[in-house]
């Protein structure tokens, strides 16, 4: 263990940006959620209503777990944010541990460190201690904030500890998965699968109903975080479960470290195919290999998101109806029409922007292929520059439609089933989702123009997307001037499914996207490849 503290210092130095961002985000959202809940649900009937909806609608139960005490702000906070905060702490810990253990080992940097005066267990111990410390800091800050808001100490400590200890549990999980594979991406995927699995297992348990398998919740570290019942009983004994898991996993990992060689994992690496598949013969064949995983993931993810939103649409409509403040916020963004349609229009607006992340990511793949020098050998073959650009950009254009369509399908199916009118609702929802496409294409066009003309500035696209989000989502609430809000392509979309359908703004957006794309292609034909 010699050298552990030096390695902790190294980890903190390397994470000096990313770690504070995680900590501030988790603590900041805790504070803003508490403040928002205070305003949205003043004491009384609104809370009763919320409690009823939250504890009967299976989609709400699956997403957030049960609402155990709607009468106190602490109880509301624990319901709305407790589980998600624990999840966030888990993801943060997982990425941190893999980054400082397996990724370092894979890159060969650990070998360099291992040749100095550093104990065999020091790198793992340093990563685990850093993650533990980050989670303690999150917990401590949350306790301080909640005490400042006047919440009871016992509940605040139970709430914060449920986040910290869940973070510890996933620290231990990824310390273990880091021993298994020699590849850091595989290690992260395994730990990520565990995180997602524990979320889903407890979702099944929470939404099972009284006669169903509610015990499933007890199989999941995230379920344990809920079972602490922060601000509603504060059952501290539940912490014994995650702490026991931590001890078992860390001991096992420490034993594996002494048995395995540096650079190798417990699982053997799998060999791939010695020959290229017949489809691997064109730039598009390669782009498909490189982008299909992301496309499938995004399509499935947006479909699930659609399912979640679709299944709560009806209940939310009722809930908004009961809450005048929320009604005001929603109709400012979603326009006029039936309350459920307004809610859905807001959701599709959000889905449009989330999907734009995919379109930008798919487009900027061009840039990362270029800067990692993987475009160079391709462009030294008969593949022309436009063909290569098109091979990736196709994923933004067509893949974007697929991702949005999947979201529309998810909403349409679930909302349609609840309303008993799939045939009528599904096409409307698909249409509302796909109506977002022209705006998303404009954003992808901006990414392509930057790539073609100002390749060093491609990162600016993310800033543009962020600005569009602020302008369109918060512009109406912040009462920004219309001229400013018009800068965002999303502002011009008809607020479907409630509003009347107009093709004109969509055509303008498609036209703008075409101009941007043409400029991007032309620019890339003329410029030097980055070398």
């Amino acid at each position: 263990m010699i050298g552990t503290w030096n390695l902790v210092r190294l980890a903190l130095r390397r994470d000096r940006i990313i770690l504070p961002v995680w900590i501030i985000a988790i603590v900041g959202i805790t504070l803003s959620t508490a403040t928002a809940l205070e305003e949205l649900y003043p004491v009384g009937q609104a809370r009763q209503q919320l409690s009823l909806t939250a504890n009967t609608n299976p989609a709400f139960l699956a997403m957030l777990g049960p609402l155990r005490d709607a009468h106190t702000l602490g109880g509301l906070l624990a319901w709305r944010w407790g589980l998600l905060a624990a999840l966030a702490a888990g993801v943060m810990s997982m990425l941190l541990v893999t980054r400082h253990t397996r990724a370092e080992e894979e890159a060969g940097r650990l070998e360099l460190i291992g040749s100095t005066v550093v104990g065999r267990h020091a790198p793992l111990a340093a990563a685990v201690l850093t993650a533990f410390g980050a989670n303690v800091l999150i917990g401590g800050l949350i306790v301080a904030l909640l005490l400042g808001k006047g919440l009871p100490a016992e509940g605040a400590i139970a709430f914060a500890s449920s986040i910290t200890v869940t973070g510890w549990a996933f620290t231990a999980v990824s310390a273990f998965t880091a021993q298994l594979s020699e590849n850091s991406r595989t290690a992260n995927s395994m730990a990520g699968a565990v995180v997602a699995g524990t979320y889903l297992v407890r979702a099944a348990g929470d939404s099972a109903g009284d006669s169903g398998p509610t015990w499933l919740t007890w199989l999941s570290p995230l379920g344990w975080a809920e079972q602490v019942h922060a601000f509603a009983g504060d059952r501290y004994w539940v912490f014994a479960l995650p702490l026991a898991l931590v001890v078992v996993l860390l001991t096992t990992s420490a034993v594996i470290v002494t048995k395995r060689d540096v650079g190798l994992g417990l699982l053997p690496t799998r060999l791939g195919s010695a020959r290229g598949a017949p489809s691997l013969r064109s730039p598009f064949g390669l782009a498909w290999r490189l982008q299909r995983g992301s496309l499938i993931g995004w399509t499935a993810g947006l479909f699930l998101l659609g399912v979640v939103y679709g299944s709560i649409a009806q209940a939310v409509g009722d809930m908004v109806n009961d809450n005048p403040l929320m009604k005001k916020v929603i109709s400012a963004i979603g326009g006029s029409g039936g309350l459920i349609d307004i809610y859905l229009a807001t959701i599709f607006g959000m889905i449009g922007m989330i999907s734009s992340i995919y379109l930008v990511q798919a487009t900027l793949r061009l840039r990362s292929e270029e800067t990692s020098f993987r475009a160079e050998p391709l462009l030294a073959t008969p593949v022309s520059r436009p063909a290569w650009v098109a091979s990736h950009f196709l994923f933004a254009i067509v893949g974007g439609a697929l991702v949005l369509g999947a979201a529309g399908l998810g909403v349409g199916l679930t909302h349609g089933l609840r309303e008993g009118d799939v045939g009528g609702i599904l096409p409307r929802m698909l249409g509302a989702a796909l109506a977002q496409l022209p705006a998303a294409w404009v954003v992808a066009g901006i990414a392509l123009v930057l790539f073609g003309l100002f390749p060093q500035l491609t990162g600016v696209t993310w800033g543009v997307l962020g600005a569009c989000l602020v302008l369109t989502m918060f512009g109406p609430v912040m009462k920004l001037p219309q001229l400013l809000m018009d800068l965002s392509p999303f502002t011009h979309l008809p607020k479907l499914p409630g509003a009347t359908w107009t093709a004109e703004p969509l055509l303008w957006l498609v036209g703008a996207a075409l101009v941007l794309v043409a400029a991007g292609f032309a620019g890339f034909r003329r410029r030097d490849l980055t070398t």
């Binding site: 590849n183 991406r185 690496t269 060999l271 791939g272 195919s273 010695a274 020959r275 290229g276 598949a277 691997l280 013969r281 064109s282 730039p283 064949g285 390669l286 290999r289 490189l290 990692s372 020098f373 993987r374 160079e376 050998p377 391709l378 462009l379 030294a380 073959t381 008969p382 593949v383 022309s384 520059r385 003329r526 410029r527 030097d528 490849l529 070398t531």
Partner: protein, 295 residues
């Protein structure tokens, strides 16, 4: 005489730096041409201009009788390229990359593919992220050599290979020469160029400073002589072309310009030669002199 590559007065700037500063280069069809220079001299930039990846600011470049910037795709059908820094896609296997690049060039020779994989001892089933630098280079070399093309453009292809594999590589290049292919081989490994190349061009800070066959370039170089004479040497130090003379009793050690060798040897014979060793100039010495003189 036909030229596979002819470049004249090529200029390429990156902001304030002049990467290519009036470069002239000719590669004859069917020859293995060494392109020698230290890192940062402009070798890769020249190659990238020839491949149409960079656009020259001025000057002319002809490649296989085409314009490398305008006729890119048509020209690329007839050449194969191994970049200096081979980066593979992390989740594609070496075999997949070889097949992809070969098919994009219009098909590869299956027999040669299998043969090269065996000679380079490369496992094509491993994923790109698990290959070492040398193995990544082997992937690109196998892909290039198993394509049926007229011109091979190789940018420091052996910088990650061990000596055994370098010997295999040299064998392969000699076979390519016999097949009548043209090879442009950039390198800063002097022994490699010396062993392989018909002609050599030496580049320094964006300009070709010397070009010719190995024999022609040797005229510019010095031979090292060590001799034991019957009597103390006299007069040698004053002969033209003699450098770094060290005399100790009857022993003498010096360097002489290769074209002044005749007169110096006569003088040695007059003193009575007991033992004599002479070493031909290596490309290394030639290379070092060029850069020292320029400093």
């Amino acid at each position: 005489m036909t030229y596979a590559i002819s470049v004249s007065d090529l200029v390429k700037t990156f902001g304030p730096t002049r990467a290519l500063d009036g470069l002239d280069l000719t590669v004859r069809t069917g020859e293995v041409h060494g392109f020698l220079g230290p890192n940062g001299a402009g070798k890769s930039t020249t190659i990238r201009v020839l491949l149409g990846l960079l656009r020259a600011d001025s000057g002319t470049a002809r490649l296989l009788d085409g314009d490398p910037w305008r006729d890119t795709a048509a020209l690329h059908r007839r050449l194969a390229y191994v970049p200096g820094d081979v980066n593979l896609w992390p989740n594609l296997t070496g075999g997949e990359v070889i097949d992809l690049l070969g098919r994009l060039r219009g098909g590869l020779n299956e027999k040669r593919r299998a043969d090269l994989l065996e000679r380079f001892e490369l496992d094509p089933r491993k994923k790109g992220r698990t290959y070492s630098k040398g193995n990544r280079q082997k992937v690109a070399v196998v892909a290039a050599l198993s394509s049926d093309v007229e011109l091979l453009v190789l940018d420091e292809p052996t910088s990650g290979l061990d000596p055994l594999m370098e010997a295999v590589f040299q064998e392969c290049i000699n076979e390519e020469r016999e097949r009548g292919r043209t090879v442009l081989l950039s390198s800063h490994i002097l022994a490699e160029v010396e062993a392989l190349c018909d002609r050599v061009s030496i580049i320094r800070t964006g300009k070709i400073v010397e070009t010719g066959t190995m024999a022609e370039l040797r005229h510019l170089t010095r031979t090292s002589i060590a001799a034991e004479l019957a009597s103390p040497p006299n007069g040698i130090a004053n002969l033209p072309g003699v450098h770094d003379l060290k005399a100790e009793g009857n022993r003498v050690r010096f360097e002489v310009d290769s074209d002044k060798l005749d007169a110096v040897l006569k003088q040695l014979v007059d003193s009575g030669v007991r033992t004599l060793t002479s070493q031909p100039p290596t490309l290394e010495e030639l290379f070092l002199r060029h850069y020292e003189d320029a400093k």
